[in-house]
């Protein structure tokens, strides 16, 4: 078989194989039961709880959970604004990078806070090492926030009827310390051994072979940053060109490791859910639906990229390696197509190639991946998004079998439907409305577009889709460091992060306090392939129905013009 394809399949299978045992480990961590890492982490955790004045045994209701979550995020945001706007005067700034403008600081703070990592700056010149470390901290805690929110959901469906759903700070600390940290550590080690820099020294000077010219080469504590960038599904690059940069992603091994790194937590969380609520079959249903969705997006991308661009072929250029414009030769067309979907279905948003240069329908699939935002999805939040689709599917299929809908023994009623519908609506609302505003106010946006016409439209649509999905990748044709883009994407980021956490947690909390209905012969089982099909149909219909017209004017029109 083609080694390019073989490499991709191997990478994916390793990720799945690791995710199952790791999911069991995550479930144990949230249960608070014994793991073999306890001797290492128990003392550290005790110190953190002591300093923070946290009683990990104090149970919270879903409302208390959410207020804790929002409060601590607000604190991080304020600290972040202050740091980024004063970084010039703070330590660890060997390259003398300047302070950020308020609108860029606003965008950057929010973007890292919400696990999106949309970057309207370039790491080499835009931030100091001190800021990079702070951003790295945000990469940990933002992933931890999403995972802690998912843990509330876990807890809600484990007990028969309760409003005590564990302690938020406990979940947060455990997520960061016991789950994200060890995986990131391993990843960073592998990166360092493959040549990724890990230093606090400033730019190095290199003399080139060409007439003794010298070039300044940026360095920094990159390996640690890149590890959590993937493990935490953050995606913000240390260097401007992200994982296409030779330091950030030196070779095929690091490509594989980074792919596995970003797949591992979202995949493991699916299995952890099943272990935690003792319904392993449900995990397989979720995994199945997500994987089918993923394969339907990734397969055409790999094929399209491998087949190359007919416009280039017609110019007489050899296109046999695939559509190589905007791609790194060390990764090739197939693996770049694979990466582009992995990074968009999961809310990572790191890139190893220019998405702007991929084929029109590949671009559409990247967009669709983010529009659905629930095939694997980001750390914890992917599962929360999927949960909304489950609620909608449960409702419709419950009606179809003549029974008031119920999920895991809890009745779905008007109140839950209202929340689920608002959250399902929010995503298309934010993407479409923001893009509509950007096209309507062309005086702010026209000059920032790299291309006119359909492709320019795709660039705008992509920017907001990426923001709303908390993805952070860019079509990168867009000149996005302007007040318009900084502020508008910042608002989209905020709304699309916290409401989709509040909604599912609220539904879970409401359901948890409801009476548990034992499963009977008439109960619709939700861990079957039939129900999986239903969930898939709901996802496909909602995403396809809402975004079809927009996609028609962007990638679809471009595709038909090209072929």
């Amino acid at each position: 078989m083609n080694t390019e394809i073989l490499g991709i399949i191997t990478t994916f299978l390793i990720a799945v194989a690791l995710a199952i045992p790791f999911g069991k480990y995550i479930s144990k961590v949230y249960e608070g039961s014994k793991t073999w890492l306890d001797p290492l982490f128990n003392p550290i955790e005790r110190i953190i709880f002591k300093i923070g004045g946290i009683n990990p045994l104090k149970e919270m209701t879903w409302k208390q959970h959410l207020s804790a979550l929002l409060t601590i995020n607000l604190v991080w945001f304020l600290i972040s604004m202050a740091l980024l706007m004063t970084q010039q005067w703070l330590p660890l700034n060997p390259d003398g990078n300047p302070n950020m403008s308020p609108d860029l600081a606003f965008n950057t703070s929010i973007s890292f806070l919400v696990n999106c990592d949309l970057q309207h700056y370039s790491g080499e010149t835009g931030v100091s090492y001190f800021s990079q470390i702070w951003l790295m901290f945000l990469q940990f805690v933002s992933a931890g926030t999403g995972m802690a929110a998912a843990a509330i959901l876990f807890k809600a469906f484990r007990e028969k009827s309760t409003d005590q759903l564990g302690n938020f700070y406990n979940f947060l600390v455990k997520s960061c310390l016991r789950i994200l940290l060890p995986v990131s550590f391993i990843l960073a080690l592998i990166l360092v051994f493959n040549g990724t820099p890990m230093t606090f020294e400033g730019k190095d000077t290199m003399t080139t072979l060409q007439d003794g010219h010298t070039v300044d080469v940026s360095r920094g504590p990159a390996a640690a940053f890149i590890a959590i960038k993937h493990v935490g599904t953050n995606g913000g690059g240390f260097f401007g060109s992200n994982s296409a940069h030779p330091f950030e992603n030196p070779n095929y091994l690091t490509f594989m490791v980074q792919m596995i790194g970003q797949l591992i937590i979202p995949l493991s969380m699916i299995f952890a859910f099943g272990y935690f609520i003792r319904r392993k079959k449900l995990s397989w249903m979720i995994f199945g639906v997500m994987t089918i969705g993923f394969l339907l997006l990734v397969t055409p991308n790999i094929l399209l990229e491998q087949n190359g661009n007919p416009a280039i072929t017609s110019m007489g250029v050899d296109n046999s390696l695939g559509a190589m414009e905007g791609k790194e030769v060390r990764f090739g067309a197939a693996s770049s197509g694979f990466w582009s979907i992995v990074t968009t279905v999961i809310s990572t948003g790191s890139v190893n190639a220019m998405h702007d240069s991929t084929m029109p329908l590949s671009g559409m699939n990247q967009l669709l991946a983010m529009m659905v935002n629930a095939f694997y999805g980001g750390c914890g939040v992917g599962l929360l998004n999927f949960f909304i689709f489950i609620i909608l599917a449960v409702f419709i299929s419950g009606l179809m079998v003549g029974r008031t809908p119920e999920f895991l023994g809890k009745k779905i009623e008007a109140r839950e439907m209202k929340i689920a519908m608002i959250i399902a609506l929010l995503h298309p609302f934010l993407i479409l409305t923001a893009t509509a505003l950007a096209t309507a106010f062309s005086q702010f946006t026209a000059s920032t577009l790299n291309n006119p016409g359909f492709h320019g439209f795709s660039e705008m649509l992509y920017e907001y889709t990426s923001s709303a999905a908390n993805n952070g990748s860019g079509f990168e044709g867009l000149g996005d460091n302007t007040p318009w883009w900084n502020i508008s994407t910042g608002i989209v980021l905020l709304l699309s992060r916290f409401l989709p956490i509040i909604g599912p947690v609220a539904i879970a909390g409401l359901l948890a306090s409801k009476k548990y209905i034992p499963e009977g012969a008439g109960t619709l089982k939700t861990d079957t392939s039939t129900f999986g099909l239903m969930v898939f149909a709901v996802i496909a219909i909602i995403a396809a129905l809402a975004f079809f017209p927009a996609l028609t004017l962007g990638p679809i029109a471009e595709h038909f013009s090209l072929y």
Binding site: V401, A544, A550
Partner: protein, 676 residues
Amino acid sequence: MKSNNPSLFQKALLKDALKHSFIKLNPKDLFRNPVMFTVWIGTVIMLFVCLSTLFGNTSQGNLGYNIVVFVVLFLTLLFANFAEAIAEARGKAQADNLRKTREETPAKLLDDRGEWSIVQSSSLNKGQVFFCEAGDIIPADGEIIEGLATIDESAITGESAPVIRESGGDKSSVTGGTKVLSDRIKVIVTTQPGESFLDKMIALVEGASRQKTPNEIALTILLAGFTLVFIIVCVTLKPFADYANTPITIAAFISLFVCLIPTTIGGLLSAIGIAGMDRALRANVITKSGKAVETAGDIDVLLLDKTGTITIGNRKATSFYPALNVNENQFKNAAILSSISDETPEGKSIIELANVRLSDYDISSSQFRFIKFTAETRCSGVDVGDTRIRKGASDSIRNLVEKAGNTFPSEIDEKVKFISNKGGTPLVVSVDEKVVGVIELQDIIKPAIRERFERLRKMGIKTVMVTGDNPLTAKYIAEAAGVDDFIAEAKPEDKMNYIKKEQAEGRLVAMMGDGTNDAPALAQADVGVAMNSGTEAAKEAGNMVDLDNDPTKLIEVVEIGKQLLMTRGTLTTFSIANDVAKYFAIIPALFIASIPALQGLNVMKLHSPESAILSAVIFNAIIIPILIPLALKGVSYKPIGASALLRRNLFIYGLGGIIVPFIGIKLIDMLVSLFF
């Protein structure tokens, strides 16, 4: 039960429904239904577009096209209204049938002094007392306070056999419109005019007091959500199209919007709910709220009385076991003689089993002296000349036999135990204080009841038998009838406790009952069906009244409830699945003029942008009347398990919902393309 399955659309009903379709165009009425309300707004906008085009505005396409779009939208509204109106009309017609029987009959009103006067039934108030004699129509619902009568209830139940109603006990209730056949009864009026269950039901159907059920509310939220999505889609499409330099006419915008929002289910939703109540009424069940029907579909546990529901009213003789040394015929003969004058159903069944005709016995002869059953002797019998024949429970006969110095044969003792063990009742017969044999009485389980319980089990419903029998008998009958559980030696509070226990575990419980002592349990149950023959207290406590007094009616009610939810679910799925084809019709049509490359998206090869848009809206409109029969009849329910049912409905209504409009729109386009 009356056979009442008239064709779906009767002429008179159609006329009435058509009239109401127009009346319902009032936006105040439509506001309750967000989906159709937005269609109404779209239609009004199109009216203005037509007018402005008429006065020379050329930017919105030609006049004919705009008018056609307006007309089709208007028809969409009418069709949706018609669906609701026809469902209401049918429900009303059904209720009127029942009501007609009780219109303006003369009532013999008694005053405090015991004098009577004739008044009209409509002027009877709650608490007043009237009397009825043979041949009178009972003027109002009430409870017998004095007397006993045979009553012909066929006007309501369709059952021609007269029934006996008497004061006191659980059979004291009479219904207005039924006819007294014999005797004289004094009745106290229990409902105000216009407030009987039937009146309440008619009000529900007519919509005056129709409340949306919780499930309907949740579904409305879902549909409103989908409507909102498409508002967003259509509004944002305007700047997108401007950016792409493809102006879109208002008619195209509104067509796209109306096609995308779930008008099919939106238009049929209330019709489905009304039809559910109507179907219940057709099954001769009066429901006090739409919610009760819906809840019936969710029932997990069903409580049924043994007698009359699972078994035929009374026990029957099934076998004769003669004692040793006794000739079988001799024993049979004794058994027959002892039962000749026994008027109880058990006694009659012995004669039946022996297969003899009573006329062969000259019972009027002075030879026969009948001994009646008394509580002291606990046996009955006959003296034929000097021969003393007695029949009774084994211990009373044993007393009799042993007092006379004879022994109670051990093989009979064993038989008695054997019969008891398998749930029967042994009756021992003695001749001249010597045991001659034992008769076995058994409960006769209704034919086909096992299949009905099997069906309930497949629906996921647990059946529980309630009986006063001892646990041994109860267990035997429960097993024989195929119920899942039983409550033996049941006292009224046992039912109540059982219901509470199941409810505490999160299950929904249904029960049927008729007695006053059932009332608390009927009220406690999630679905309580009271027999129409039952007491007023029972009828007040339950949330449905069964006019047929048929205890197995709950099975039908459950199916009606399930059908109701399923019809909503499947039509929602169908409606939303339709959007795929509509997109493929309209989206290329919107942009093809300025982006010719999008011809590739026109997979149906529709004739022109105008014909494509028109075909989509026309399909969207006519699918509503096409589906009205389905909405009224309900999607058929099959107890094949939830997952199999989901697969089946997903296949028919989901996949069908994607494919059908592709074909429909293409066909309509071939027609429309002749004009546009």
